[in-house]
Amino acid sequence: MVDRGQGVGICLLGAMIALGAIAQAPGVAHLQAPATVEARAHSTATAVFQVAIDAGFHIQSNHPKLDYLIPSTLQIAPADGISVAKVAWPAATDHKFSFSSDPLSVFEGTLKVPVTLKTGAAGAHTLHGSFRYQACNDQLCRPPVTVPFTLRVDVR
């Protein structure tokens, strides 16, 4: 059975789990990078990123229609002979908002962003990248956010 010490342990574990959840930075668009990408040397591989946007919000697409709007970008710094060949953003939605006279090109909901990587020599590599976006809803806009991430690429 559970003794007093184990009971305290359970409580502490619960507190750690809860505080871990709280510690996650609040944001509107939540990026999930693949844990590991496996690839062949001197070839190409695809890393699929997922972005989940909070309900009611949108982020500007990678090609907003107005020059003063901030596009979504996903960048990965070249390293160890690995570089980005293509970022395949999904088709954006043209959405008319109460504050816009013309439809804006935006992303909403959940999107997948496949990124094609050109690989180099074999080895386990860690790449560093960033996802930048700017979100709004009908009433307000959040400041632009840059989310750093790391991507492990195992090249064989």
């Binding site: 003794d3 009908d138 307000l140 806009c141 632009p144």
Partner: protein
């Protein structure tokens, strides 16, 4: 009194543990789901003007910023005037709905000393300059350059507007797009 059986005591701890875990997870969940609402921001205990709860009656902290030509502009210059501080950015669509209204209201209440200050939260002064070249504004625009945050904090979202009376006290803070009648009413409250 007799001591409770050891088995019952152990189960008590299990129940306490489950209740605490549940409570903490609920707290974490509610914090995450509320994190993007103005109410969540208002609920924080921060004392900064743009981040705390009720700011009515607080003295607007002093600031000195620069206009788009590099000329210093300070809140102290407008002592004795009713002042509207509108935090905006070129990338903020809802802000641009309000801007023509601010221009109309500035004109309407100019004779009563109203000063409207648009505080740009853009990262780049060039962006603001380009925007204003295309969209001339008849009220004061200053560029924050991320310097006002020390005293005012960071706005949860834009537009965020502060209404400051002639005594330098904040009467109201409005977050998000409002209708022109509501903005007009708030202005009449500081004249």
């Amino acid at each position: 009194m007799s001591n409770p059986p050891a088995k019952a005591t152990a189960w008590n701890w299990v129940i306490i543990g489950i209740v605490l875990i549940g409570g903490l997870l609920y707290l974490a969940y509610s914090r995450r789901t509320m994190a993007n609402t103005p109410a969540a921001v208002a609920a924080t205990a921060s004392a900064k003007i743009l981040e705390t709860g009720n700011v009515a009656g607080r003295t607007a902290p002093a600031w000195t910023l620069e206009d788009v030509n590099g000329k210093p502009v300070s809140l102290a210059q407008f002592a004795g005037h009713p002042v509207v501080m509108d935090f905006w950015a070129t990338w903020c669509g809802p802000c641009q709905i309000e801007m023509p209204w601010w221009q109309q209201l500035q004109e309407q209440y100019k004779s009563q000393g109203l000063v409207i200050v648009g505080v740009s939260e853009d990262n780049s002064l060039t962006d603001v300059q380009k925007y204003l070249a295309k969209n001339p504004i008849n009220y004061q625009i200053v560029w924050d350059n991320q310097s006002i945050g020390a005293t005012y904090g960071t706005p949860f979202g834009l537009p965020t507007t502060l209404f400051i009376n002639r005594q330098g006290k904040i009467t109201e803070r409005v977050m998000g797009l409002e209708g022109k009648p509501e903005l007009d009413k708030a202005i009449r409250g500081i004249l």
